[in-house]
């Protein structure tokens, strides 16, 4: 088993900074709609007949992540 290849989506400059709706994410992930917001991309996908696509936000640039957010009360 290998990782799901999303490099063609993360590396596509047309998607940088955008929300994308992805179909067939496990086999051949492909973008079926984009938007400035998740809401917009979901609506566009729905209008095209895709009821529940996988929603992702493509970062403008992929940085190494060393996050671990903590809550501060």
């Amino acid at each position: 088993m290998s990782a799901i290849d999303m490099t063609h989506i993360y590396g596509n400059r047309n998607y940088k900074g955008k929300w994308v709706a992805v179909e067939d994410y496990q086999t051949r992930p492909r973008v079926v709609a984009t938007g400035e917001s998740m809401k917009e991309a979901m609506k566009k996908a729905e209008r095209k007949g895709f009821k529940l696509p996988l929603m992702m936000q493509v970062p403008k640039k992929v940085y190494y992540f060393v996050g671990s957010p903590q809550i501060i009360r």
């Binding site: 799901i4 936000q57 671990s68 009360r73």
Partner: protein
């Protein structure tokens, strides 16, 4: 349940799992990174907007990462479904737009699942925890 890592660049693979998020009016299929160092599950503000969730100022909190910069977040109840397991939990909505995915942390994820990550196999095994009364 077994999931596969996401390859986001030729040098970076991440343990990201798909999940269904449900508010009282909307449903979304989203993806989130498993992060054992995170206290809570965190999703972007755009997710709250898409789910028509009204963020309440009385539920404001602060979130910090290794960069020490504090960001504002909102604690909110949300229904999460991963595979066949569905539950309601408290999550934080915050501006994490530079990151791209949600984050699954201790409360709201690790308290519901035993998790085994295999970087070599590029697989994520999660097993629902059996709650005892």
């Amino acid at each position: 349940m077994i999931f596969r890592y996401f390859e986001v660049t030729p040098k970076i693979i991440r343990p990201i799992v798909p999940l269904i998020l449900k508010s009282s009016t909307r449903v979304a299929f989203y993806s989130a990174l498993i992060d054992s160092g995170a206290d809570y599950c965190i999703f972007g503000l755009g997710v709250a907007e898409a789910l028509d969730i009204k963020l309440k100022s009385q539920n404001k909190t602060k979130v910090s990462g290794v960069a020490k910069e504090l960001i504002e977040g909102f604690l909110t109840n949300l229904e999460i479904r991963i595979g066949t397991v569905k539950y309601e939990t408290k999550v934080i909505f915050a501006d994490i737009s530079d990151f791209g995915h949600g984050i699954l942390g201790q409360q709201g994820f690790f308290d519901h699942f035993d998790v085994k990550l295999s970087y070599q196999k590029q697989t994520i095994e999660i097993e629902p925890v059996k709650f005892s009364n």
